[in-house]
Symmetry: none
Subunit: 246 residues, 2 copies
DNA sequence: CAAAACTACTTGTATATACAAGTTATCTAT
DNA sequence: ATAGATAACTTGTATATACAAGTAGTTTTG
């Protein structure tokens, strides 16, 4: 699939070998010079493949020593951009409840992220979901999807607000975006703070007001450049901490 | 300071110009060809500088269009496993103060991570550091290094507790571990919570007690398998949020 | 007038090469 | 035997160059 470029080929080969266990944790990979000979290319190209793998946390380098496989714990907990059910559902009995069904709104001002004029102009589809782990409410997520034009089917323009008409596929927003609009979430930026719970959040998360709450502002990056999804998250971390690893 | 390499120089110049507002959000940077002429270097070197700035979220590229300044987020990328000074020091005037010099202790019980019998037996070297960004105390870090045997120089066994004898190289624990024991930190696992500040933590972080505090439990992975470094972090996120991206 | 072609500019991928700097093991002189 | 030099390996930085591919504006063509 990604065979167009040499560095992508090298990248995929190495990634495959790591994931299939051919190269094990801590093991040294072939040196840049060896790989350059194998692939009949140059060190620059091999380094390009290495850079990708480093960025994704598969390998690391040590100057003068070599390049090594990182530990296989690449699961990223809730700090990753994977959907909630995808990450948490593997371990706990996780489910969500839609508090506010998708509805068209204007973006609040001020917004926690700088918006483009287009985003402001078209407004957003807003929805609010409460997340549970083992029957305990752990997270309140408020999501803003810019109401831009998307191609839902060939020669058929529509807007994100067609989301409001049906429920989320399998309870998953990401899956719905993929199926309906073939939009993929490819990354995220986030800022994390500790704040005090207020009436609204405390009520949903079954906690007292003025108690510590993990607050996260997110911007999801998608395959459709310049289409971002925004979320604010309120997490009750009393029982369930948020985890990640690199 | 980082003048040894051309790409570092370009990197610092551009970063400075962005932070000082000379290049504003969304603005187009000079093209790679223009910069290559200005700095009397090659595109490859300019691209290396750009890559760093992309990784740190200062700029982004659009194929065929150019390179642009991202919106400023003003937050600390502390969720990565890079050392504090390494991540924060590039952007802010960051420094640390050692509150408790490295000293040999037993591991507290219960400990936030399950320890191996060996780790418990040998105890740990404990140290406590307060981290500043622009003169504001933002983070209190308590670190536990298992006091295992390490090879400091050929045929010379010693323990981590030889750390207690001298100060940290360049104020950096990671650099000291690298130089003295050739131990590299290659990753981390962490759990994040929101808690209330107590007297001790509130005092150092110049905040009131019972106020929200970001609390992080960490286990750093090193190139020496089965040697982990443990840390607990208390972050005042009032002024500086913690950020990350994938 | 509108579509197509062209042009100039941008970043993306690639080759070929060189030397610097860190690591490791071996060899050598004391 | 031990310390120091050396050699062979690794990744890091750098030069010089070429063509591909995406973007945007201008010119040509129908």
């Amino acid at each position: 699939m990604n065979k167009d470029f040499i560095y992508k080929q090298v990248y995929q080969d190495l990634k495959g070998s790591i994931l299939s266990g051919q190269y094990k944790t801590g093991q040294k990979l072939p040196s840049e010079n060896e790989l350059k000979t194998i692939y009949k290319t140059t060190r620059v190209t091999i380094r390009q493949a290495f850079d990708e793998l480093i960025k994704e946390g598969f390998i690391y380098k040590e100057h003068g020593k070599g390049t090594f496989v990182k530990s296989e714990t690449r699961s990223l907990g809730l700090l990753s951009f994977k959907g909630f059910s995808e990450v948490v559902g593997e371990e706990y009995n996780a489910h969500s409840k839609v508090i506010i069904q998708p509805q068209v709104r204007r973006f609040p001002t001020p917004f926690f992220y700088e918006l483009s004029p287009t985003e402001v102009k078209y407004g957003c589809v807003y929805l609010e979901r409460l997340r549970f782990a083992d029957e305990t409410p752990v997270m309140l997520e408020q999501t803003y999807l810019p109401n831009i034009e998307v191609i839902s089917s060939p020669n058929n323009l529509s807007r994100i607000d067609s989301l409001t008409e049906d429920t989320l596929i399998g309870g998953s927003l990401f899956k719905t975006l993929h199926t309906k609009f073939s939009i993929e979430v490819i990354g995220l930026e986030q800022a994390i703070k500790a704040i005090e719970s207020e009436k609204y959040t405390a009520n949903f998360l079954k906690m007292k007001t003025k108690k510590p709450l993990l607050y996260i502002e997110r911007r999801y990056l998608t395959s459709r450049s310049s289409f971002y999804i925004y979320s604010t998250l309120y997490c009750n971390t009393d029982k369930y901490a948020i985890s990640s690893s690199f």
